[in-house]
């Protein structure tokens, strides 16, 4: 039982740090609250969809910015809009903020600025993915050890 308590403690602390660092915001907590016995992995599932989305959109933007014959800023803008939407829905605050910053460079049709923003966005995405995967791993360890995932507020 002590082992489970340790894991749960670790989970709570790690979860709190994600909020403190601004990696996730209240919307993430709201999604957590939707988890129950029927869907204990809801947040993990939403996160997977989000990671897929992110990777696809970041890739599309990278390709668009590489076009020698001219960058399609409308397409970039559309990608940013989609990413901003999904990141907001999952509570990925820093990714969302990176999108907001990106948008102003895209509006100004500033290719150099966009490239920098894309780099920043990729960085925030990697950070988020890494941290969430660590969190989900802790979850799985708790459940495997016979414990229940603590509710964090």
């Amino acid at each position: 039982m002590d082992f489970v308590n340790q894991l749960q403690r670790k989970f709570i602390d790690y979860s709190s740090s994600l909020h403190r660092e601004g990696i996730v915001d209240d919307q993430f907590t709201q999604l957590r609250k939707l988890e129950d016995e029927n869907s204990p992995h809801f947040v993990m599932e939403v996160a997977s969809l989000f990671f897929e989305d992110c990777e696809k959109l970041i890739n599309n933007m990278a390709i668009a910015l590489e076009q020698k014959q001219g960058v399609d800023f409308k397409q970039i803008d559309e990608c940013i809009h989609q990413l901003k939407g999904s990141s907001s829905s999952i509570g990925a605050m820093r990714v969302k903020n990176a999108c907001i910053a990106f948008r102003s460079f895209s509006d100004a049709q500033n290719r150099e600025g966009c490239l920098r923003c894309l780099q920043q966005l990729s960085h925030e995405y990697s950070l988020l993915k890494n941290k969430l995967q660590t969190l989900f791993l802790l979850e799985q360890q708790i459940v495997a050890a016979g414990g229940s995932i603590p509710r964090v507020h």
Binding site: L34, V46, K84, G85, S89
Partner: protein
């Protein structure tokens, strides 16, 4: 307030059609609706939504439709057909105009909200959509169902998020003129989690009764 859950437990469930091009958002809205005891169908576009309803554009008539839909919740910005265009098509269709339509948008733009409400949207929700938003929409839907046949439109959208302020939702059943007048400023929300923008998203029109 668990009205939605309590009422639905004894009757058939509300069937909600949710339309959103974002996979993440479809998953979230589906969960929010299921938790609120609804049957949910999610589709990724306006065109798919119309197909599901059985409204075949070319023929302009009803096609096959398996399940009756009680409420449509649609994202505003979608490629192809926007949520606004979908709203118009539904409200202009004799078969489906009675189905309440709720618009969801990540952008809190007054002119956008205005046009949607004018075209007959029940509510305009700013994303990210929360469980409290969905529960409120469900309650509105149920109460609307009870007054079907009347010409009343519920326009007091100022519902406080904090359930402790349930008394504020009592002024919801008076009738109003069918075309909205210029928006009045919302009174400050007393709910802890509301911001002025958050109140605005719902409090477009105010019933002074």
């Amino acid at each position: 307030m668990e009205v939605a859950g309590e009422v639905l437990a004894s009757e058939s469930q509300l069937h909600v059609l949710a339309v959103d091009d974002s996979h993440v958002d479809r998953k979230v809205i589906e969960k929010l609706l299921k938790i609120s005891s609804c049957k949910v169908t999610t589709v990724e576009s306006g065109a798919r939504a119309l197909q599901f309803l059985g409204l075949d554009e070319e023929k302009g008539s009803l096609g096959f439709n398996g399940l009756k839909v009680n409420l449509i919740m649609t994202d505003y910005s979608m490629p192809g057909m926007t949520g606004y265009e979908l709203l118009k098509k539904i409200k202009r269709s004799s078969a489906f105009r009675e189905i309440p339509v709720v618009i969801m948008s990540s952008e809190n733009i007054l002119t956008r909200i205005d046009s949607c409400l004018e075209e007959g949207a029940e509510e305009f929700l700013v994303k990210p959509v929360k469980l409290s938003d969905v529960k409120r929409v469900m309650n509105d839907c149920i109460m609307r169902g009870e007054t079907e046949g009347n010409n009343r439109r519920r326009v007091d959208k100022r519902k406080f998020e904090d359930d402790n302020h349930a008394s504020s939702s009592s002024s919801s059943s008076s009738s109003i003129p069918s075309s909205p007048s210029s928006p009045l400023p919302s009174s400050p929300s007393t709910a802890a989690t509301s911001s002025p923008l958050h109140s605005l998203k719902r409090a477009k029109l105010r019933d002074d009764n």
